[in-house]
Amino acid sequence: MTKRVGMEVSVAIAEAVKLADADVVAVYPITPQTHIVEHLAELVVSGELDAEYITVESEHSAMSACLGSAAAGARTYTATASQGLELMQETLYVASGMRLPIVMTVANRAVSAPLSIWGDHSDVMTVRDTGWIQIFNENGQEVVDNTICAFRIAENRNVLLPVMVHMDGFHLSHVIEPILLSDEEQVRAFLPVNNYPLPLHPSKPVAMGDFAPPFIYTEAKWAHEQALRNSKKVILEVWDAFAKEFGRQYKPVETYCAEGAKTLLFTMGSFSETAMTSIDKMRADGLDIGLVKLRLWRPFPFEELRDVVKGVDTLIVLDRALSTGGPGGPVCSEIRSAFYNLNPRPQIVSFVGGLGGRDITIEGFESIVRSGMEIAKSGSDKEFQIFGVRE
């Protein structure tokens, strides 16, 4: 029986990992991810989750332990944030390059210095090119659902790639939300047994992550690229299957009031919820505005995004990270490049805001939209606008 519970999102994620029956959890605690690993420890100690819980001395070791675990064919989970994700960096490439199905929650947080434990997408952007599948979420239910989906996507024979499930630190990780927790049997039926095709086993020795001289490295990289691009098909299948079984549908790009709107605001993660309320208000005031929300960050959903902006005059992109000394908003710069060949192409206005846990209110979104529309009309000599900075 599906239960509707009031639960802190981090605790609910640990419950989802239990429902998914993970075999190995190798984690190092870091704010704002800590409550996930604490609750997982409780579940393992109480015997509710029959998993090997590996306490490690750093995030680098956490991911390294996950490599071994996934290579042995175990269903493997970890979680981190910010500096922890940075410390994992080199092993993240190993996980994807070796095609190991690991699921990791990232409680998105700013990166030091100055020290900030609060949320933004700076940590995500530093791992953009690590070759992982990356999924963004707006609320606790989505994180829980996509944690379950992530195992099925990662372990699929035609995918075999690690998956990051992103959620905004504090804005999601620490809030108590009503969450639908599905029945254990139903989730287990949804998740087939992990059947990694070439696991480490003494009866059939293999070597993983071996040396690739110049004559083969390009081919290895291209195989990884193809696998990541082609994973979209399976991601869509898994989301459809999830909708059929559990009644909640996810898509690479989602919209709110976007039908026919000439101006679209673009967001990722939990800020989309506030943005929707702001859209309602602006529409009530007669503004022709809709919202587009990116769920699938990697593989990047080029076609879906291009479809959404057909007939749109202005796209206002809000990034929660700053590409320092570069184009400003890292997501916006990808969108500009994805739309460059479109004809007609919408005007694209880049905003950076919500850094290091700073809120953007309903009024804040309205001010972004109104000044974005103004810039689209009269132009700007700046690559991007920074929202809310005190000059």
């Binding site: 095709p197 293999v206 071996d210 081919e219 290895a220």
Partner: protein, 96 residues
Amino acid sequence: MPKPDNELTWKDLEIGCIVTNPGSAAVYRTGDWRSQRPEYDFSRCIKCGVCQMNCPEDSVKKNELGYYEADLYHCKGCGICSRECPVWVISMKEES
């Protein structure tokens, strides 16, 4: 006959470039990297085997006369054998 390594396409690779054939490193020509080769003055050699024990590539083998000699397919020319030989049998010569 499997394809030579440098003709493999990306589709020929195992998932994640996993090597399923144990011991296949033996066919990898580490000798390609060599810029110097060991040369021997066997008249001084006492057949102690120190050069073999110290070779990081395990490329020193006994020849038919019982002398220890590098297999140039694998010898990467590091010069450790030359340094370790107690009676200065081995000198390192630039590859042309």
